[in-house]
């Protein structure tokens, strides 16, 4: 099970490529501008990823998105980010 880290919003090559390279059990963590994809209005950009989608708290907070993210996205702090990297086999970053 891999952890993919994405720092770009949906509808970018990086996002499209991350989604096409993800395995069925892989997890996706949105950081930096990638948290734009965590907005409720963007949720359809990540079909079939229930329980496997995460967003970094401090990046949501900085962008005023803490009250605007989809309910089923798991928000993690930076320690949670580290924890996610512990439980996967390896990470792949898309930027």
């Amino acid at each position: 099970m891999l952890l993919h880290i994405l720092n770009r919003a949906p509808d970018t090559p990086a996002c499209r490529q991350a989604l096409s390279a993800m395995g069925p059990a892989d997890r996706l963590l949105l950081i930096e501008d990638g948290v734009i994809g965590a907005m409720s209005t963007q949720r359809s950009a990540f079909p079939g990823m229930e329980g496997r989608l995460y967003a970094l708290h401090e990046d949501l907070e900085a962008r005023g998105l803490l009250d605007r993210h989809a309910d089923d996205i798991q928000v993690v702090d930076v320690e949670g980010f580290v924890a996610l990297t512990e439980t996967c086999e390896r990470t792949v970053s898309w930027y």
């Binding site: 720092n7 950081i31 990470t91």
Partner: protein, 130 residues
């Protein structure tokens, strides 16, 4: 676990360097080791000795240097990428007939082989790109 970080973006221009530094501090706080940080592509600019951001902004070069010194983390800057971008330590500056140096300890100019070595011997290599 043994971690390594690959940083591919310049400080200030992209958030990558901030994110990487936050991550580095968090992994150390969680009890892991950071075997090295490798700076490649535009990431070599994180070693810029002469960076002088305003007082009220994060000083990323100093941040990396402080982390390197406090925790004994090697800060390895790809020499080929650095030279092309004007990041030279004293030895390289002399070798190329330049006055002054733009990279100093604890940052060290090393070969790309160090990245491969770090990546393969650590448990996790996390990349932060632009």
């Amino acid at each position: 676990m043994r971690y390594a970080i690959l940083l591919l973006a310049a400080p200030y221009s992209h958030q990558a360097s901030h994110s990487a530094l936050r991550f580095a501090r968090a992994l150390l706080a969680r009890g892991h080791t950071l075997e090295g940080v490798f700076f490649y592509h535009e990431g070599v600019h994180n070693a810029a000795r002469l960076a002088a951001p305003p007082q009220d902004e994060p000083h990323l070069v100093d941040g990396w240097a402080a982390l390197g010194e406090a925790h004994g983390v090697p800060l390895q800057v790809c020499i080929a990428a650095a030279l092309r971008r004007g990041l030279l330590d004293e030895r390289e500056a002399r070798r190329h007939g330049k006055q002054g140096a733009s990279v100093e300890a604890p940052f060290e100019l090393t070969g790309l082989g160090q990245l491969v070595d770090l990546g393969l011997r650590c448990d996790r290599l996390i990349t932060f790109g632009p």
